[in-house]
Symmetry: D5
Subunit: 147 residues, 10 copies
Amino acid sequence: MIEQRNEIPHLILAAKVRKGLSWSTIADALGQSKEWATAACLGQMALDANQARTVAELFELPEDAAAWLRTVPHKAADNLASDPLVYRLYEVIHVYGGAMKELIHEEFGDGIMSAIDFDMDIQRQDDPKGDRVRIVMTGKFLPYKRY
Amino acid sequence: MIEQRNEIPHLILAAKVRKGLSWSTIADALGQSKEWATAACLGQMALDANQARTVAELFELPEDAAAWLRTVPHKAADNLASDPLVYRLYEVIHVYGGAMKELIHEEFGDGIMSAIDFDMDIQRQDDPKGDRVRIVMTGKFLPYKRY
Amino acid sequence: MIEQRNEIPHLILAAKVRKGLSWSTIADALGQSKEWATAACLGQMALDANQARTVAELFELPEDAAAWLRTVPHKAADNLASDPLVYRLYEVIHVYGGAMKELIHEEFGDGIMSAIDFDMDIQRQDDPKGDRVRIVMTGKFLPYKRY
Amino acid sequence: MIEQRNEIPHLILAAKVRKGLSWSTIADALGQSKEWATAACLGQMALDANQARTVAELFELPEDAAAWLRTVPHKAADNLASDPLVYRLYEVIHVYGGAMKELIHEEFGDGIMSAIDFDMDIQRQDDPKGDRVRIVMTGKFLPYKRY
Amino acid sequence: MIEQRNEIPHLILAAKVRKGLSWSTIADALGQSKEWATAACLGQMALDANQARTVAELFELPEDAAAWLRTVPHKAADNLASDPLVYRLYEVIHVYGGAMKELIHEEFGDGIMSAIDFDMDIQRQDDPKGDRVRIVMTGKFLPYKRY
Amino acid sequence: MIEQRNEIPHLILAAKVRKGLSWSTIADALGQSKEWATAACLGQMALDANQARTVAELFELPEDAAAWLRTVPHKAADNLASDPLVYRLYEVIHVYGGAMKELIHEEFGDGIMSAIDFDMDIQRQDDPKGDRVRIVMTGKFLPYKRY
Amino acid sequence: MIEQRNEIPHLILAAKVRKGLSWSTIADALGQSKEWATAACLGQMALDANQARTVAELFELPEDAAAWLRTVPHKAADNLASDPLVYRLYEVIHVYGGAMKELIHEEFGDGIMSAIDFDMDIQRQDDPKGDRVRIVMTGKFLPYKRY
Amino acid sequence: MIEQRNEIPHLILAAKVRKGLSWSTIADALGQSKEWATAACLGQMALDANQARTVAELFELPEDAAAWLRTVPHKAADNLASDPLVYRLYEVIHVYGGAMKELIHEEFGDGIMSAIDFDMDIQRQDDPKGDRVRIVMTGKFLPYKRY
Amino acid sequence: MIEQRNEIPHLILAAKVRKGLSWSTIADALGQSKEWATAACLGQMALDANQARTVAELFELPEDAAAWLRTVPHKAADNLASDPLVYRLYEVIHVYGGAMKELIHEEFGDGIMSAIDFDMDIQRQDDPKGDRVRIVMTGKFLPYKRY
Amino acid sequence: MIEQRNEIPHLILAAKVRKGLSWSTIADALGQSKEWATAACLGQMALDANQARTVAELFELPEDAAAWLRTVPHKAADNLASDPLVYRLYEVIHVYGGAMKELIHEEFGDGIMSAIDFDMDIQRQDDPKGDRVRIVMTGKFLPYKRY
């Protein structure tokens, strides 16, 4: 029996290793992008009833897992912050964050890019000098309300 | 006379306000993308001799500014981390960082996306439900060396 | 001459003390709520051209202040976090944050209350057992995008 | 047998998932608002004898749970601080905290809004541009004692 | 001219050293306890008009000081936390905080001792084995509201 | 069998809930003040042989508990720092710490109030405007040694 | 059965103590340098299929260990930062980091030494005044991209 | 006149930019390695009388600079920790620190590599796949004393 | 079976309580000073084969403990930092650290006192005004290398 | 004119460099040990009237310095914590703090070594294998009060 929702990502990762599944396969089964599906399996998104059942079956999770997967999780872990791959992403913001702020305000005025009405796509970009990771993010621009 | 390199971004921002310049104009004058040019003006990139002279003239900086602009700065400020626009960028990594790690490793194996051999493009993406900020990043994949 | 935007709130506060102005008066002059107007004067909101000129005149700010006030500031200071009045606000979230998360998700599903498309109203609520501070906040609910 | 009081919220959440209960139902059973009741179930409030028995039965908790629920808990968790929903609440204070302080002092003088003699109400506010979360808080104003 | 309110305590301390004043004298001039008066001079309390004028004269502060002293300060500094005298006070809470919580709840139920409706008295207590510092604090008990 | 001394306070609290004991009763059994006795049961003081046996019997602790209770514990927990009741105590020092330092030095010269040769008494103080918590602390003044 | 990848280094270290193996022996079995092999066994590198099988056999790990060892770990622990040996390494960067930055930029221009396309060799260097630890690191220089 | 020793590195860097000097030239003038000389100019090493005079003349420092340069500085700054070049050096220790500890103990037993009786050499290493930074460090092994 | 080396100090402390051993007795059995022996038992020093066997027998540790005790531990815990006895030691350095630095440099020049080639002796010093703790530390002076 | 007490140590250090004074000379002039005198000059101790006048003259401080030197300073700086010499002192406590606690309690029972009724002596100890720094500290043992 599952005692806390944050046990599930560990169960999923262990089952994924054991069964040799890929994230793409899992995304297909869920009918979502691989980015959303992976984040969901890692405990960052709530699933609907069908998806929860699919994930529970795919990874042979305990009986009550599907109910847990439908609840909204506590999101936004930062325990990976010093991992070299993840750190590079933070560093991009350390180096470019000020410029991104200036350029988005220059184009849109005062407001933010939503991290909720947001999507992301990660692809390999072939390059003769060494293939590149290509990350495309779009988020709705939200202007600050005046009142 | 400039005593430390990190005085220059303040001088540039003040001149930009005073003169009403846009980052795009500045980027054109430098012959670089607006992303790189803005980051450079905010003290995150070293300029070559021509660029340094251009920036010094454009913003009417003190005489020794051009020499300072050619030095490599201390990069990667995080004093903007709680600004709402910048925070959303960090939050994207809090929420998606684990998934990004999984997906890049699934596609490329062990290694990282370079934050050095890296570029970024920020655009407005028209959308009837509200325009979106579109950010495209590419970075060379670097595999961990085995030896 | 103003060197950085964050000098302006200090200039405004000093002029407010010297002239004995109230925030309500200032809000009326700006044609905005007292909550938005105060936040703007404290460096948390960008002003439009008219508002910037009004504030500059009202507080007799230096010539370049109006131009600075139209730029988007670096927002979200937390240097007041241990002030007793401000701390109580944080404590409300320490104590009720989990419950607020549960109840908003129960009503709306996965998503957040926007802090950008957001307004706030603070009033005195008469009470024979001691008057109360009444704070009303509304923020647009933003559902997490699925893709 | 329960070893520490902070085990109980996990037991309650697990039972809630298993049984598909809603916070409103629980609040009704307790005869309190949904805000207070949820906070209490999450370990932030002490229950009276009847309430403790009701909660213990509703969630089929171990025998000694009712006695534990009557004790005053260690309150004020901040382990949710980076969750996007909860973070927005903190950000509101980062952005508006200074203004709130100014406006409450302007109206009431030196003192604070109590976080103890305090209540909160969360509702859906219909809005054709997208429904809003409406949060109303009232807290007794407490003037600083002079002596 | 004073630019920020937190300059005043430095001006007061410097004048106090120069003039050789004692806190008791200052308290008498203010007509308040030495505890409240000292805290006020150190920037932790707002003064009324008479008190502000008295303090400004006593310490020969700049002209605008009296107006500043009437504003509510940003309170609650912790920059003294490692000073040995102040640290001992914190340590008392590290060691006894849990016990104080238990005993106040045992006597009063769920709630807190107010730090706002609060007073303090510090005296020398003669003792043949070495004189003691005697600190008496009283704060109104505030029960948690149920609703 | 007890593996670490810091398991004992949890065992004591659980037994106290189960048996419905009060701290006053426990203090009487130990022949100490309720403040010292409670701190000791919460793992902040070493007990003598008689007291250790008394506590072990009263709470029906495992056989080796009495021996552990006679050892000097690792003291000074701060895991309660954000609990509202305990936070108010810290806040008193944030607000008054500078004044307490000034007043103790004015009376005694350079030195500290001991937190070791120290006692504390907590009482209810009846008050028609609402009962108050009254805390009396005395600590030996220790002058800094000159050499 | 292994629940998380970070259990494996503990299993390896325990087996290494039990069996009295040396890191050099392990490196030989893996066909890699002792530096890479040790880091891999401590959970910092992904192994290929042969290596994973070798490590699993050598240390008699549970059945599913080999599959886990092929996954990319969460890297970059800093829980050793205060260990005296490890601290000296950090201190070298505290003391020399600025100089290293200056000298690498003087030789190569703006960019970094890769920590991914990187190798390290640690040897004993005989010295009559006391043997020395000799550490040789090489990392590819990566110039900052201009675009 | 110099008020604190840590003003000198800023003066040196500003003069270096103005005069277009290289660290190698400076090292030659000092008769030390470029690594030691650069660290010394950046405020990490004490200079002898001749060296102090040489540096003061070379950079046309104020009269009292030579006397300051002979004093032992407060060493070990970490304000560069998030600079990408410097971060990579820290990351090497995050990733390899455990392995370095294991391998040095395997070879030498319990003890450390000295960061005081220590030297470092940084060179370009030609490589057809991209030149590499080569860093050689040696430090005396110091065994833990038994007594 | 022991899974990690840091379980051993807990086993030793529990056995010491159970058997009523003193640190002096243990030191005699090890043939080392009480300071070194106690630090070793608390997981700060590696033991030789004889010592490891002695400790394992004395405290009736599990079979594999002796092998673990011979490995070099992860040293330098700071989880006691707020304990009043330990804090006083840190405070001595907060108060005297600058003076110690000045005086050691005045006597020896640039360098440090080794914490590795180091010993310590703790004794009771009789004193009619109250016995004193006397701590004598000696550490080899290590001059900074010039090169 | 001196605005804050913590300006004085900088003035003293600058004068000491300019005049080439040694701490021993200063201590003799003050009639105190070099350890106490140095700490006092670095802003950690209050001076009496004669001493304050002596220091003010010796270092040619501004007129009001003597009055400031007689006030009790804010003590206990930790801004030197990463300096290698000072860090070694902290590391000694990281490594030996647990053992020091055990041994002082074994000898004296529950209590602390005072850091107030405390003295320290630092000497060179000749040693053919390299001279040693010898630090002797004594502090009064203070038993925890029972009540």
